[in-house]
Amino acid sequence: MSANDPHRAGLFPHRHLLGIEGLQPHEILGLLDRADQAVEVSRQVEKIRPVLRGRTQINLFFEASTRTQSSFEIAGKRLGADVMNMQVAASSVKKGETLIDTAATLNAMHPDILVVRHHAAGAVHLLARKVDCSVINAGDGQHEHPTQALLDALTIRRHKGKIARLTVAICGDILHSRVARSNIILLNALGARVRVVAPSTLLPSGIDRMGVEVFRDMNEGLKGADIVMMLRLQRERMNGAFIPSVREYYRFYGLDAEKLAYAKDDALVMHPGPMNRGVEIDPAVADGPQSLIREQVEMGVAVRMAVLEALAAHLPNH
């Protein structure tokens, strides 16, 4: 497989990856196939495949994220790119003022790929319109986090051999979750049955028309599920604003062995991290035999290599 293979390039005809929305099922599957190969490469001693040699990748993070940023950094380096990390502290950003300025400044340095995380939905789209290089959305507000959904799909497919017709229960703070939105779109595109499980205050308006089955009772929602995907609950939402308390949330929506027993015996547990043990998930489940949480991190690097490689096929060669 070569990044410059025209057949391959045709499978992913996009200059940016701004979201799962707009991707065709075969394009998603193409990325997952690439990622499978990247997993093999990453497990070798010699991990470098220099398809991005000479290219400059900038990770522009307006929101701190050790996990996603290092994952993109390693992915870029394994493909031979020069990777630079830019942290823009949220406190120093006056209402997105520097977003356009930063875009213009960076653009003048001729990067080939920009990986962007921003706290506002749509910020990555705005930036993509202002720069000449490829842009990857590493999470924009509560909108999308496409590489997370891709790595989740890769993880599932490697264990279950397929995505179609699996029952996936996404549980927790759906309202504020970009991971949930990207996953709902991707899993539906690949034919999975998607459920969401959450208290009504943590469900977005119109959720019943988003292609999911909605459950407020977690035991009901987990019944017969193949995959249980937990979401992180942000601290500021725990004490009265959306739910009354952590202990009440944990009692009704925290994943413990008892609730997990309602899912299929071979059900797998996932979490995008970082986890709040004892809030949305019992440590025993998080670290138990059904958990894929650590493997998700490995798949994250592979998927990001696949995305970088797919976009590299569209980079100008001179």
């Binding site: 209402k95 997105g96 977003l99 749509g122």
Partner: protein
Amino acid sequence: MAADTPKPLVLTNARVIDPARGIDAPGAVIIADGTILAAGPEALNQGTPYGAEVRDCDGAVVAPGLIDMCVSVGEPGHEHRETFASASQAAAAGGVTTIVTLPETDPVIDDPALVDFILRRARDTAIVNVRPMAALTKGLAGQDMTEIGLLKEAGAVAFTNGHKSVRNAQIMRRILTYAKDFGALVVHHTEDPDLAGGSMNAGLNASWKGLSGVPREAEIIMLERDLRLVAMSKGRYHANLVSTSDGADVVRVGKDRGLDVTAGVSINHLTQNENDIGPYRTFFKMSPPLRSEEDRMAMVAAVADGSIDVICSNHDPQDVETKRHPWADAEDGAIGLETLLAAALRLYHAGDIELLPLLRAMTLNPANRLGLEAGRLTAGAPADVIVFDVDRPWVLEKKAIRSRSKNSPFEDARFSGRVLTTIVAGRKVYDYA
């Protein structure tokens, strides 16, 4: 203004529309000394004043100039966004002969001296009429009422809290009660500030975009509250920017109960819906937010049946510094003076509203509500008149926009219907070349 008076003017071979008398007929309009001498079929046989310019309108519509009841200018305080000079140029090109300004300036128009400032600035720099609304509460803070009597004396035509609702019901009740003694009109934005925390219409669309929504109920609840307070206080009330079908229903009920209530809608909410936002295009971010297509259609129907009285532009110039941000961080607001008539004519061409009632909502109705003599072609009324071709096609090009700010949701839009001539107090202020 210079002492030279314009030559008398006779507009012949015209389709004369005068909402005040329900006229839509071939005829002429005779103008002298800044006022209308005669208009309609009866003006055909009245001869021509001495020295008059005679203009053959070739069948084009002659109607009262539009009165735009909700305009932000930017002066004082934000002259880089818009001045009276630039706003009035845009207005004249759009067929608007009277702009009614919001007090959301810096400083806020909450003092009689500031009303006077606006009237003087407008007299010296504007080519259309400017009628200021004053603040309903000091600093628009929603706490202390302004000097309604003195402000009215200074020339304020109505009182409003701009794009912010008065949160406290007791304060709103007292203001309505006090304003009634002066016959002052209270123009209110109806969005419950606690419910309206989001940045676009609540619902599926916002959910997919990852944006927090402004539920329709934010408007409905505030409007229902207000009409209860109007019933208590017997005050004069105008809901400035209604955007939902239920909001229109609340207004209907209020009118049926005999309350002194009217309501307006922005042209944006009659011609656009939330789907126009597309990929987070901030020129479509406004308050209230663009709603669903169902609500848009309901608002059009409400204008057609007279439940909603006034169509305004909600002209709100914003520059690059306030608009080129991620959606949630960008300011609300869109310009609209220059496109008010052309956009409204879309409703006529779509067969949704007849020309006469459509024009009534932008001329006679706001004039009557604000106590202005303009907005009609009756003899003796100010000669604020427009000539427009109902069908003439044109495209709004960004570089041709006259406003200082270019934040138009109609950029590159195709329109049918073009203002040919705008006349203010008998003087031509705009001619389409």
